[in-house]
Symmetry: D2
Subunit: 329 residues, 4 copies
């Protein structure tokens, strides 16, 4: 039974707390948060103790930590936790700075402690079925990947300002999905971005709608579409065209009911947002992390993967500014 | 926090145990089963004690029981539990004998103790959305109801022999669904049954495929189709034609992936069987039971509902034998 | 090039006129109708002459006739046309009287002149794909057939009164579809009918909503649902459950556009009525008729098939009145 | 009744011949082709005469011409036909050279003779429904357009060499669709292209797979995906994300049948190629052309539209070579 310390008791921390507590081989023993009330409330719900991050890292009885704090603390906490010998599951992104993330990777490298990055979508049953189908050769050689990823509504501008921008904050999931499904890093990145949803986002120096094209050394192409607003709900789809077919993963709908009237045939909307859509993915992610530690399973999303996605986000940010494609080393 | 005793640690008992244990307002404290090992193993997993049914019914600290034992014990246990002042959630059917079930209803009537019958499908998000839409008048006046309910594979003939037959064992869910969606009992029942899937089922005096037509006093009609074998998985659909439209609840698929190749476009199968398809329904059912006890919410599936469904099963059994329609009092 | 005389220039006659005229191996040369203006107008549009039925039957240059007159004239015209050596494609039903239809069959029998009945749905690409898939054994042994057939709106009561009733006028298509897909006649027919859409239809002695169950000697079952009103359009679906799978033919929609908004996801309605939905089927039907005559292809829908469907309609009419199942000889 | 001369009796010429002949207000009177046998055979089928192009242009009784010859002759023939006062429907593209097409536009400008370019997809019922929905404001302000357009199989390399390349030959349809749906020309074009389907296409200097991103002055973005090979059939889809919703036009499938077995649920493939998918679009296109001439309806696809699409194809060709975005004047 793994003893787990949870760093961060915000929205995503609470999602993880449920999965940690419900898992047959893990136990939530400690929670920390800059907001002590939040930590206490969450800890109480699961019979854990509310303590400081330092206390968690110093507690030799704790096997692993889940880092769900603000992004600017991720690299430090990963380094400290691994130095203390604790396995780490850290939320995305590793850092807003590629350079800092790279240093973190170098620092952790060689400790032998597993660090997994929370790219939850790899564990979505639909996307993992796509990956399995590609790997099984069911569509021959993949040639053209398309990722659609729209949020239901834009975040507050105050959040946008500290988020690192759409490419590091939102599209980073899609960059990781591209790396996951293509099994390689692209050689060029071209981004077109606009702040058509909310001009205030543009004034804050960010975009809210973007199309990114990735090209690969072997001739494959990937395209990612992001929008901060899809009023009908969280739109999360993937398509892969291969030499022998097309794989598509559609949205998960709220229910299977349709209603036919004089006005047309109406069906349910996609699950509203990530907590609903990826509920199963978060549980599977946690299960994979536990298996990595206890069963020696291969780490499914390494810190290196986290840095690789961040490198694409950095290139896309630069391309969206210059309007020109960026070559990756 | 409701203290719950679970009578029956078989397949369906284990499903309920998870929901009892995970619910914020209920706690599994005791488990009984004729197979003591099964009871102990399940009890241990949730920190409950394994005891006899008698001990559970005699334990004043236990607020409610979930009856998941074999059908022939249901009526007795309902009577004993309510006599002991314990709220009851009992699996379907109430009994194989309509007369016995009716006596149970009379006996319980007036005790004021809530008895809920486990027609889990009422709590399926798709079917409850259908009910809500009908109630909201979205398709006007319902006129023609169709229920499709196919199991993935027939049960062993040994089970068939003690099951009470397809109408009492399997279609009883659909009879309850008809009662639920139509909000009334039919006036006639016509059944056509056959043992085309497995002749051994026919030799055992039962059918494995059946179509039942229900007619209502106000002119509405319902039709139910059952088969014990749908090799592609558990097929559970409902359609209601009304004066202003059609409502349809489709199957829940294993995932949303489709694959287009030279051979056609392939998508996922329905969730394989009731444990997968109705996982959410069982949790919602338990939540409704808790609310009935703790919040005084209306009992969503009363013992009377259980007897009403059984009355239809009895009539259908009779009609399938005679080939003629049966009038209900 | 077949020279064709068209008897009847009403709605369905005009549909056939287009197909006769557009076919590379047939030519519309004469049109008759009790309404002479209608005959003339249609004849003019295709360079044909407007004449009497008698003249058409007496014209030795005419190879075949299409009978699209009122039902009460069908048997007489079939007999006269075949006596004159002309191949016949006659609209359904053969007659309202089973006895008269049977006499017509006896009379025609032995003339060797092909008589085809206009069960157009056999030529719908969706239903013919279902038939082909069954024949190819793709779902193993068919066990349970379901036919859904809803009209968009009820006909005027004046029409209902002369129509022969829902079973002879509307469900006859579905009886033929059952005969077509099951490849056998049923041994029992049970019908439940109601006039819930329009009480005036009930006062006229007919039903507007019905469910018919057919059972077969080998244990198979079929169920047919009819309603005179589906406000969302013409609803025409077929499902066949077999030992190795399920075949379903869905509706043909007006377009493939869907719109996702805050209110849900809306898609197009089914094609409104039979002229739209079965446009391709009527053309394929005509092509098959031409092939029967010119290429000696097997008659895909014989007069005997027409009589067989009528026999089911008669049995269903009787069953709906008595409430009891009817056995067929 | 418009008298029509058809220039070009190849595959696409034959499609148009059917629509010209079947239309109530047009008549095919003459056909020309460099292959005289082809011209004669097609002319004979419709009671037209086979003559030279010169003869058609010189025949004062001919009201309009349909140009379905090889691309390199389009501009010349448009100029000659309009000079002769004949209305023109010309297949796409106007020319392979933007400069030549521009000269053609200048030359025709002011003659007052309608010249329509055969961007048939505007007349597809699905895409025209998308346009109508946008225009009606049903999804608010359009923000992000996606066009997917995959051919079933690559053309012979010999064809590729004279085709002008994927952007002028294939994606030109999508450029026009973008112009049609966005109602404006983009300000930048970025193209990523690859010859991953067939290296021989790459050796011929062309690409077979491409992603093009268009940005607009008002902040909107469009993305077009093309592949020369989708083994499951012709894949033609459009999506528009707007401030109040998403519009999607899916593929037209061969039939509506699905088959559920142990292996999954299989449905039909998309209509195989453009002759099947756009059969209705070609007929509607011809009808629109007739209405432009006879009813003074607005020209739905002007020569200017043809030049505008070509300008995007030229920019994309340039961008795919340089790897950098191209700004349009």
């Amino acid at each position: 039974m793994l003893k787990i310390g949870l760093l961060g008791a915000g929205r995503i921390g609470r999602v993880h707390a449920i999965n940690i507590a419900n898992h047959a081989r893990s136990q939530l023993v400690a929670v920390s948060d800059v907001n002590e009330d939040a930590a206490r409330s969450l800890a109480d719900a699961y019979g854990a103790k509310a303590v400081s991050s330092e206390a968690i890292l110093a507690d030799a009885s704790i096997d692993a930590v889940l880092i769900a704090t603000s992004t600017d603390t991720h690299s430090d906490l990963i380094e400290k936790a691994t130095a203390a010998g604790k396995a780490v599951l850290c939320e995305k992104p590793v850092d807003l700075s590629l350079e800092r993330a790279q240093r973190c990777l170098n620092s952790v490298h060689g400790t032998g402690v597993p660090v997994m990055i929370g790219f939850n979508r790899r564990f979505d049953p639909n996307f993992s079925a796509i990956k399995a189908s590609i790997t099984a050769g069911e569509i021959g050689k993949p040639e053209l990947l398309s990722i659609t990823s729209f949020d239901p509504a834009p975040p507050p501008v105050a959040y946008v300002k500290v988020s690192g921008g759409l490419f590091r904050d939102m599209m980073i999931h899609d960059f990781d999905m591209a790396n996951f499904l293509m099994g390689d890093a692209p050689k060029t990145v071209h981004a077109a971005g606009t702040s058509i949803v909310d001009p205030e986002i543009g004034k804050a120096g960010d975009v809210d709608t973007a199309v990114v094209t990735l090209t690969y050394a072997d001739g494959r192409i990937a395209v990612i579409k992001n929008s901060r607003r899809a009023v009908y709900g969280y739109d999360q789809r993937v398509e892969v065209l291969g030499s022998e077919g097309l794989l598509s993963a559609g949205n998960v709908l709220e229910n299977t009911v349709s209603k036919a009237t004089k006005q047309g045939v109406t069906s349910a909307k996609p699950e509203f947002f990530f907590l609903e859509r990826y509920m199963r993915a978060y549980a599977a992610e946690w299960n994979a992390f536990v298996a990595t530690i206890l069963d020696g399973a291969a780490n499914p999303v390494s810190l290196k993967d986290g840095v690789a996605a961040l490198a694409l986000a950095e290139a896309a940010t630069q391309s969206a500014k210059s309007g020109q494609a960026v070559s990756l080393a």
